[in-house]
Structures are given as C-alpha cells and as structure tokens.
C-alpha cells in the first residue's frame, strides 16, 4: 500500500513537472512549426516571468498578488518576445542555425542584465499562504498520497493555458491563419493571410506563456539569472519529441519527458537521470524521427 502511494506520488510529480515543461515548450514548438527557428533566449522568458512575479508581489502584497503577477508576467514576456522577434529573429529567419546563435547571444545579455539588476544569488518569491496546504488522501486505494497545493496550482494553470490555446487555434480566425501558415506559408500568404503578423503574434504569445511558467517557477524556488537554463534543455527535447508545431504532440511529449524523469529518479540520481533521458530521446527518434504527432504534408523538406 505504502509503495503504491509512493509510486503514485512520483507519477503526480512527473505530471506536474510535465505541466511546467509544456508551458515552457509551447512557445518554442509553435514558433518552430511556423518559422523553423528555435529561440535560445526562451529560457530567459521564464526568468523574466519570475522576476516580474517578484516585483509584482513587492508592489501588490497579500494573498492574491500571485494572481496579479500572472497577467503581468504574461504581458511583460510577450512584449519582450515581440521586440526580439521584430529585431532579431525575423531578420535571420531564412537561416535557422544562425538564429539559434544570435538568440543565444540575446540570452547571455539578458542573463547578465538580470545579474547586474537583481544580483547573482537570486530573489525569493514567497508563495501565498493559501498555496501552502497539502491534501493527503487518507482512504481509498491511494491512501498516504500527498498532493501539495502548489503542484495542483501548476496543473490548473497549465490546463487553463492549454485549453485557451486549443480554443484559439481551433475556433478563432487567427487560429485558422496560424494553421494555414503552418501548413503552407506561400499559399496562405497568396490567399491574403498576413504571415508576417501571424509569426509575430504567435511568437509573442509563446514567450508570454513562458512568462507564466516563470511565475510558477518562482513559487517552487528562488529566481536566479540562470533559472531558465535548467528548464530549457528538457523543453528543447520536448520540441524534438513533439513534432512540428503540434499542440497535442507537445503535450504528449511533455508528459513522456516529465514522467520518464520522475520515474527514473526513483532508481538513479538526478545526473544519471539526465543521461538516461538523452539516451531515451535518441532511442525514441530511431522509431519516430518525426515526433509523436506527424503532420502529413507533401513537402519534401520540412
């Protein structure tokens, strides 16, 4: 009984880590599907979200400060994302590998700026008291299972964001444009879709979601200048496993990576888990090189 509860606790941890990965990777995957570029400064959007949460909470203290911090972080990161897209990524998008390097440069500058502004040690965001509870199941097959409110809150935010983006992509005109550009950019542009604007909007939407993830990271630990770096490499792996710009694929891939990490850490320490995760990804792409969800298209070169 105790063992099954422990295992289930680990699964729950995996799912909550996965929901962080999905928030971090969503923007990467959507812009990658549209423009075939990866923004290496995406991790710094998480960092920015964390610092914005810290600043918001010092202005708006009290139990509901965190709910104010979420939209602030979203807007701040989305704005920075829009500037980044306009100033750097759009200019280089014909050369995806160079975009990778240029955005890495941006990430170094942002990290150093954070270090100069807030110090290298990082700042602590104190989670509001209403998040400091833990539900413990006492009966039923899962008795002994602890469910911390913070982790449940992460799940809730991730579910709301995923739902909102699914609605946006599938039910609105903008979503229609996004899907059209995703499938065939020249034809969509010929039909009058402003592909340039779609790129910009989707990119800043993605960085905004990363900003939300940053607020959540701030609840889990201190916000440091390099906080984004520790989540960004798994997020890249999610993009690789997820397939091109697919919402469902990204979600499934996040779950796979989150659960794999959480379950493997029962047996080995964190660093070995990282190596095994990489091995797992390399083995996985032997079978499904195009990711979990394959978008069928006639294009030879994706």
């Amino acid at each position: 009984m105790q063992e099954s509860a422990f295992l289930l606790g680990q699964v729950f941890n995996g799912v909550s880590v996965a929901s962080l990965f999905v928030l971090a990777a969503l923007g990467l995957a959507l812009s990658f599907g549209l423009m075939r570029v990866i923004n290496m400064a995406h991790g710094e959007m998480l960092m920015l979200g964390g610092y914005l949460a810290y600043m918001t909470l010092s202005v708006v203290p009290g139990p509901l400060g965190i709910l104010v911090a979420l939209p602030v972080a979203f807007l701040g990161a989305a704005l920075l994302g829009a500037v980044l897209e306009f100033a750097v990524i759009h200019r280089l998008s014909a050369r995806p590998l160079d975009t990778l390097l240029a955005t890495w440069g941006v990430s170094l500058v942002l990290q150093q700026a954070a270090r100069n502004l807030f110090g290298a040690i990082g700042v602590q965001v104190i989670a509001p008291t209403w998040l400091n509870h833990t539900v413990t199941l006492h009966s039923g097959p899962f008795s002994g299972l602890d469910l911390p409110f913070t982790r449940l809150f992460i799940l809730l935010v991730a579910a709301i964001v995923l739902g909102a983006i699914a609605l946006l992509l599938n039910k609105t005109r903008l979503g229609l444009y996004v899907r059209a550009v995703n499938q065939d950019r020249p034809v969509a542009a010929a039909m009058g879709v402003n592909a340039r604007l779609v790129d910009l909007l989707v990119f800043s939407l993605g960085t905004g979601v990363a900003g939300l993830a940053g607020v959540i990271l701030a609840l889990l630990g201190p916000v440091t200048p390099t906080v984004g770096q520790s989540y960004i490499v798994p997020a890249f792996l999610v993009v690789i496993l997820g397939g091109l710009g697919s919402l469902v694929g990204t979600t499934i891939a996040s779950l796979i990576i989150g659960l794999f990490t959480a379950l493997i850490e029962i047996f080995v320490d964190v660093s070995v888990a990282q190596v095994l995760l990489l091995v797992f990804v390399i083995v996985f792409i032997q079978f499904r090189p195009q990711g979990v969800i394959t978008v069928r298209s006639r294009a030879l070169e994706g």
Binding site: D98, L100, L101, I240
Partner: protein, 357 residues
C-alpha cells in the same frame, strides 16, 4: 607557381608560429599554446558547420573526452597503483580502491590512443544514430546541446571517479618527463603548433578531394544528393567524427598547457562559445577558424579579468553581431566577391579618396 601576397603572409605567420617561443615571454607563450590547441577544435567546427552545414553545440564533449583521456593517465603517473595508491582526490572522497576503468590509463600509450579513439568513436556512434533517421539542422543542434549538458552534469556528480567540479589537475610528469618547466612548455608549444599545421593542411587537402565536394553538396542540398544516387550519411558521419577527433586532440593538448581539465571547459556554455570563435573568424575558411579562436580568446583574456560582466555583454553582442552582419566572418572580408568584401572595399576606397583630396 606564381607567389602572391597570400603566400608571403602565410609564410610569415608560419615562421612566427615556429619561432614564437624565442620571441614572446613565457606567459604569452602559454596563452598562445592554449589557444592554438583550441583552434584545432575550431577547425573541426569549420569542417562540420561551414562545409557540412551541421551545427554542433556539443563540441565541448569531445574536447573533454580527449582532455580527460590524457588527464586520467597524468593523474596516475608516479603512483604505485599495484600497491593500492590512488589519486589524491579519490582518497579525499573516501574511495576504497581505484575504479576498474582507470587501470588501463596507467599505460601512457593506451591513454594517447584513447585521446583519439574515444572522442572519435563517441562522435561516430552518436552522429550515426541521429543522422541515419535523417534528423539534422536545428534538431541536431538541440540534441548536441543536451549531450553537452548530460556530459558535464555527469562529470560533476561523479566526484569520486572524475574529480567532480574541480576536474583533474595537479600533475607534473608524462612518461617520466617533467611537464611543468619552461623548457617543457616550449616543447608542448611546438607539439601543439605542429598539430595545428598538420590539421590545417590535412583538412585543406581533404576539402579539395571528391569527398569534400560531396560534403558541400550534402550541405547545400541533401535531398538532391540522394536523388543523384548518393548516400549522404557517410559524409556527415565522417565529417562529424573527424571534428570529434580534432576536438579530442585539442582537449588533450589544452590539458597539457593549462595543467587542468574540468567540467567548466566542456559544458553547454563553453561548447556554444566554441561556435562563436568560428562564426567570427569565418566558417568557410580554415585560417578564419584559427584567427577567430585566437582573437576571441585573447580578447576574453584581456576583458574578462578586468571587467567580467562586460565580457558577457560583449560575448552576447558578438554572437548577435557576427551572425547578423558578418555571416562569412572576418575571413569573408578578404574573400573576393563576397558581400562583406564589397563593404570592406568600399571603406578602403573611401579612405583612398579622402587621402587623395
């Protein structure tokens, strides 16, 4: 063959390189030696990235494999391992017996062979596994970055076997020869210089062969290469393996110069820094890779000791600047017909006009 200005400049650089130990002071020589060791790795990046179109953000892994393969031996040098002697850090970490994989490294020749074989084998296996499923471009770059992260975290966490965060340091002899004296530093410099020259001319020759043409063809149109009936896999895996071996040799030579190999030299950030050396110097020109490595590293040495935070801003700006405005690097300025060369020539001409007036 008619000798041009290019040949005279080349000969002058070679002469300076060969006689540098007699010209510059020991501190500068040690820096130059280290950076030349790094430039061997940079030529490998030029091969895969400039000529093969493969961006690797994990060359630090192969650099580290080469460096550690040699350092493992250097740590065992002078120890009586048959009687249970162990490197100092193992004793501190409370390891009871030398780990089995350390034993063969007691033999210097085994260790030297591993400097080449381990990075080569890992690079070949890794790139074959990824490229055979036709995964390339951005995906490959991201996977190599994950590789660099996994490798450096593993090195740090396995403190008792790898020396952890501090790495392997504090060695004095190789096969009985003292490697810390000034004379030894000169010999190590000459060995490094010989490797740089050898790598330069070997790669130059390799890129002029049919194999080099096929590699460039794969870069420019992998599917066209397939339609013409060729398999691009051997060219890509071959180039990546050669780059891995060059990185390993560079890592071993760097370890000799610096007297240390540590995870700080092999992780995600140093690996991507290696790419910017080549981006700045010129990804399609071999001497550009060497020049970029020397330039960025000497600049880093000057700036980062005085103003560390300025260095990181500068490095970030360098990344953005080099790829946005100088895609062919500094070497592109001298390449006839390149867009950079036209800008360069316009500036030169303007200066001429000003002086004429």
């Amino acid at each position: 063959m008619k000798l041009s200005a290019k040949h005279y400049v080349g000969a002058a650089v070679l002469l300076f390189g060969a006689f540098a130990p007699l010209i510059i002071n020991p501190y500068e020589l040690s820096l130059l030696g280290r950076f030349l060791a790094l430039s061997i790795l940079a030529m490998g990046i030029m091969l895969i990235w400039g000529e093969g179109g493969i961006l690797s953000l994990g060359q630090g892994v192969f650099f580290g494999l080469g460096g550690y393969a040699l350092a493992l031996h250097l740590k065992l040098e002078g120890l009586d391992i048959a009687n249970g002697d162990m490197p100092d850090f193992m004793t501190w970490s409370g390891v009871s017996a030398l780990p089995y994989f350390w034993y063969p490294f007691a033999n210097p020749w085994f260790s030297l062979a591993c400097v080449v074989l381990i990075p080569g084998a890992v690079a070949a296996a890794f790139s074959w596994l990824v490229f055979r499923r036709r995964i390339g471009g951005v995906y490959f770059a991201l996977i190599t970055q994950a590789l660099a992260l996994a490798f450096s975290t593993l090195l740090i966490s396995q403190q008792a076997y790898t020396g952890g965060f501090n790495g392997l340091t504090d060695y004095s002899t190789f096969d009985g020869f003292d490697i810390t004296s000034t004379g030894a530093a000169q010999v190590i410099y000459w060995i490094t210089f010989a490797f740089v020259v050898a790598a330069y001319f070997t790669l130059r020759w390799l890129l002029s062969t049919r194999w080099g043409i096929m590699l460039r063809a794969t870069r420019d149109g992998e599917n066209r290469v397939r339609f013409l009936g060729h398999n691009p896999l051997p060219y890509k895996v071959g180039a990546f393996t050669i780059a891995g071996i060059l990185a390993g040799i560079g890592g071993a030579l760097f370890t000799l110069h610096a007297g240390v190999v540590s995870p700080a030299l092999v992780g995600v950030v140093p690996s991507i820094e290696m790419v910017v050396w080549v981006a700045l110097g010129g990804r399609n020109v071999l001497w550009g890779a060497i020049a970029g490595t020397l330039l960025v590293n000497f600049a880093k040495d000057q700036i980062s000791s005085a103003l560390p935070s300025l260095w990181l801003y500068g490095l970030g700006a360098l990344f953005i600047f080099a790829v946005s405005f100088l895609p062919a690097g500094i070497a592109g300025l001298f390449k006839p017909g390149s867009p950079e060369e036209r800008v360069y020539r316009r500036i030169l001409n303007r200066r001429k006009l000003e002086t004429a007036e």
